[in-house]
Symmetry: D3
Subunit: 253 residues, 6 copies
Amino acid sequence: MRPNKLRTLLAQDTPIVNAWLSIPSGYVAEGAGHQGFDSVTVDLQHGLIGFETAVSMLQAISATEAVPLVRSPSKAPEVIMHLLDAGAYGVICPMISTPEEAAAFVAACRYPPQGSRSFGPARGKLYGGPDYFEAANAEILAIPMIETAEAVDRIEAILAVPGVDMIYVGPNDLALDLGEGPGAEWHPRATTDAIAHVLDRARAAGVATGIFCGDGALSRQRLAEGFDLVTPGNDFNLLMGAMSAAIAETRRP
Amino acid sequence: MRPNKLRTLLAQDTPIVNAWLSIPSGYVAEGAGHQGFDSVTVDLQHGLIGFETAVSMLQAISATEAVPLVRSPSKAPEVIMHLLDAGAYGVICPMISTPEEAAAFVAACRYPPQGSRSFGPARGKLYGGPDYFEAANAEILAIPMIETAEAVDRIEAILAVPGVDMIYVGPNDLALDLGEGPGAEWHPRATTDAIAHVLDRARAAGVATGIFCGDGALSRQRLAEGFDLVTPGNDFNLLMGAMSAAIAETRRP
Amino acid sequence: MRPNKLRTLLAQDTPIVNAWLSIPSGYVAEGAGHQGFDSVTVDLQHGLIGFETAVSMLQAISATEAVPLVRSPSKAPEVIMHLLDAGAYGVICPMISTPEEAAAFVAACRYPPQGSRSFGPARGKLYGGPDYFEAANAEILAIPMIETAEAVDRIEAILAVPGVDMIYVGPNDLALDLGEGPGAEWHPRATTDAIAHVLDRARAAGVATGIFCGDGALSRQRLAEGFDLVTPGNDFNLLMGAMSAAIAETRRP
Amino acid sequence: MRPNKLRTLLAQDTPIVNAWLSIPSGYVAEGAGHQGFDSVTVDLQHGLIGFETAVSMLQAISATEAVPLVRSPSKAPEVIMHLLDAGAYGVICPMISTPEEAAAFVAACRYPPQGSRSFGPARGKLYGGPDYFEAANAEILAIPMIETAEAVDRIEAILAVPGVDMIYVGPNDLALDLGEGPGAEWHPRATTDAIAHVLDRARAAGVATGIFCGDGALSRQRLAEGFDLVTPGNDFNLLMGAMSAAIAETRRP
Amino acid sequence: MRPNKLRTLLAQDTPIVNAWLSIPSGYVAEGAGHQGFDSVTVDLQHGLIGFETAVSMLQAISATEAVPLVRSPSKAPEVIMHLLDAGAYGVICPMISTPEEAAAFVAACRYPPQGSRSFGPARGKLYGGPDYFEAANAEILAIPMIETAEAVDRIEAILAVPGVDMIYVGPNDLALDLGEGPGAEWHPRATTDAIAHVLDRARAAGVATGIFCGDGALSRQRLAEGFDLVTPGNDFNLLMGAMSAAIAETRRP
Amino acid sequence: MRPNKLRTLLAQDTPIVNAWLSIPSGYVAEGAGHQGFDSVTVDLQHGLIGFETAVSMLQAISATEAVPLVRSPSKAPEVIMHLLDAGAYGVICPMISTPEEAAAFVAACRYPPQGSRSFGPARGKLYGGPDYFEAANAEILAIPMIETAEAVDRIEAILAVPGVDMIYVGPNDLALDLGEGPGAEWHPRATTDAIAHVLDRARAAGVATGIFCGDGALSRQRLAEGFDLVTPGNDFNLLMGAMSAAIAETRRP
């Protein structure tokens, strides 16, 4: 099976820069994959992307060196399994708040006996190779999102769930659940502290860590703090920012 | 019929900033329309966009203040008419090199007796209003591209064709046809001179002028030179540039 | 944030006429929005419409004066949130039978602290405006469907759930659950009585009311009975009726 | 090969009622096919329909008793051939004004030696049957549109072209070319006379006749005049009319 | 209502050969339907197929003599109902392990009072006919998959659930759950015994039986063992096998 | 720029086995690319494939070792250029019968000064690399189809056109034009002689040769005759054949 390059990078302690796609377009996905990102995540939760377009985006990413990931729209095991069949090499799953949810999520990502993933590897086998079934459990990354107060409270138990390969912090939803506002610049103390606590516990447990960031500057800071994987903004916001800047420069007096 | 805001801006001598879309996505189109562009052009020639997606992009642009334009993939009259039926308020047509081609293009954009556009206004009527048929000839913009040596040679005859509302310079193809290379920074003398000549003749003839630019800085310069409409880069390149910058900032030592 | 016109109409006691779309087509959606409906509902439950087409239909409705609504295919919070991210200004949710279900549904429609909607406003922000996050809880309509015997029995408790902005009666499913047949003309006593009871209790509670009707005549009657919002048939049935009438007129001896 | 039912109806002098589809939807196409139309035409010229959606519409029509037809977006032989490969049992071709154009159009519809259609029957064979290649030339209808002054002037020569199975009058474009306005109700004398002349000459030549009509009443009149095939309006206009009527009835004081 | 041919074949004890589609293509679906299969199943669980494409595939199958079936991606009732609205004449539902799950699944397939299917027959009525609502409960097949150790243990209780029309064995997932490997050739004793037990109990209970097979040879054997319906491989694997064979033959020394 | 592996294989005199895709599916395209074909051709002429699906198929092929080719639906230069922008590494162009047509086709495939391809490399640059513009003329293959009597008559002049990298024989259309029937088994003398003549002249001129074949056996024979590239059937026919065989084996008495 094609090795999961993210596992190699994690083993080498090399920082991982991840793209985040909300535009339903294989063209954008392929472009992102060629731009230098280590991984490219197709976001089916808040991105305007349905299943079949996600498949074509995973194919487009597969034409590049980047590792194809998805953010699942749901915790439902059948949805996660379908995205793995479509060739995702890792799943970021929103709203995991308890070790039980983490275990159920991991189980959806693994074939028996480690889990309960249904057999039907489809495109996963095309991308991964003919020994996909035998090797998938060891290559594919299960990445629960930590984005609720409850998840922060139970972080050690979540980190202890076998098969949790990385945790991914969602700062906006975490801030909302902690009674603060979304947006990187608004985070007051509670969110900041919670993120620091999660990072600390994960490093102690030897579990890799990722986090969504608003831009490159924050990503750089998060890497300095010790995060393993950072996402410097999503495609749509990067594009809108670049359009605004181009208009402003054009109209500059 | 809903007035064509570009005609108003031209009448007021207000510079027009135009977006250029090659990503097949209504989400990007709507975002661009809200970003502050005066018009948004769906590029069916080099963009990876087919007819039905172009329709959904024109609908998305119609949910904003921006004027929906298309670049036609072809000079074939039936293709141009179909895009007008889909609700484009202006057509940029590639590779117009002679007054005969310009006249045929204009005819495809106008109902009889001014032209030979076939009747079937479809979505044009939804966007334009119930009097679309009566008013369309006066509102819709026919914009031939000037991008060959022959077109430069015959520019005065092309500008004299009744119904040519604006000419739009394609610097890359023009440079290639003049034996120079593509890309704004490479333009040596011949392309620069040709563009200046076309601009000069168009202003003398009282015909509006537009031009594709690589970025905001060049757009600003082109406005200063006297162009009426500028396009500061396309969506895909803006996005790739923003992604590269975010990666670089993240990885900055 | 763009105000929700339906809230204004409700405040003014102006009757609301709502379109119902089951054809997966932005062209139909835009046409409906221009036809004079106050709101247009994209039906993802029984309509043959998937997520991405629903997005393009919401964009098309946004090009008109009508308010874009959806009927969710599911009570699952992640599905409801995704449709809100796509720009729906109200969600009609099928099969709400208890106050607990109503509360869970409302929570899915509201950001914390009023609810548990996940952050990622995407197209909602394009349509609503830059202050979408701050104002969305106050503008977006949460509309549970009342279509089971249990819901009728527990109607007062459902109406008392904070954030239920309107209830929407589904007469066909309600009739089936009461042991009667579907179709407006068949409703015997039990369904009729149940609808009258729900209307009466909603008016007493000061909660707005909507209902699906087979045609314009029944819609008119329902408005006279006191309903605030009526849906005079769905697009497909209206089209099939018009086609049949055109054939019959053509073939009339 | 599955016989072309339209040929049987023409042989029996049975009036043919034809549907006209501009909405890109297999659901609408299948509904139309079940509604009682003898044939259903997918309009790729003014309808908002691209090639792949047309294929799915032809499949949907094939699930009904109606005969699947297309209006081609173009006279280009490769476009016509592709639509035949997709399973159309007849092609209505816009803007045929001369016998040469008619002959070229017929040639595109026929395999050698009668024509020059390229071999690759694809879905045509699925719908038609395994002997498609041998029988297609005899079953498929080639239907040029008569919609220019020139076509009226040269009608006898066009009708004399071998393989012209039917002519189809486009009254709106014909009226425009004759200096009159579109819309059935506006036709003054010249268009009326031209249509009568075309009908008369076609009947004399033994060539079948079809015509686009605004509604059922005009269709009925055209049948009485002697036309063989009538189209009582298009899907979008029928739907918009039905929606307007439902709103008006709902709001009737 | 159009009768369900599979019920007739089962009543006649005629073996049923079923196609299995994982390629999202109406063209493949229509081809399969014409190839001689008695039924064609659109697999939304492991196939790379979303809802709207499934609809177009069901339409394409409806243009043939084959009976259109689906494998649902989920046990969620709203998903099953939606696929029935789309015109499926039978639903194969994965991962039914208990009589309670079987009963819930059957209820999702039946209108009240036999079940709780929501009313909105949409395309089901186009394919089935105007009396669809009255007859659907009697025609549509509810087919739980037996693919877990628990389901085998509780097979008699599952078979006793009213409305279970057929059970369908998923040998790969069953083998995994029994601690054996996927792939027909690997099945050791436990899976073989479990399948034999399920078949025996189903025959004793008078419930029809179906099973997924890797190819025609295994299908033939399963029919000989007493299964009523067999699936000789899926479309993608058949195609890949045919491609490999063509390459090998081409390159044969 | 990524080298065109077909040029390497031709230089090494290694036989090339080419896949032919008529099913509009990226899944099939990616599967074909992994199956061992040297190149995979997306057929937009007789395949049921539109532009945007072709793009996604080219992306899927790009995720494999196979070289992505297209058969253009048209000789129109703008159509050919668009497919090159989409990332095709070679274009097979139907119905080239004269050296003038061959030269116009080659010009559409080459940037100035060798040709007249319009600048806008889009996805071509993603697949080919940043120096795409500089190297594309040397890497991309222009492959006219020889499939008319006239082309056979003028084969030496066609082969002499600079930039004709390979000719590709279409035996079915050639047979039809020569008054014989389609299908490999029917070819009588005239077609056989014509193919032998074309092969002989191409070898003499040092131009590579390809040919469509019905299956692996004929492909093997064509390689033995001296053809450089063979296509052992198309995807749809291979799949239908495999389905028929599976049914037959299942039903074998």
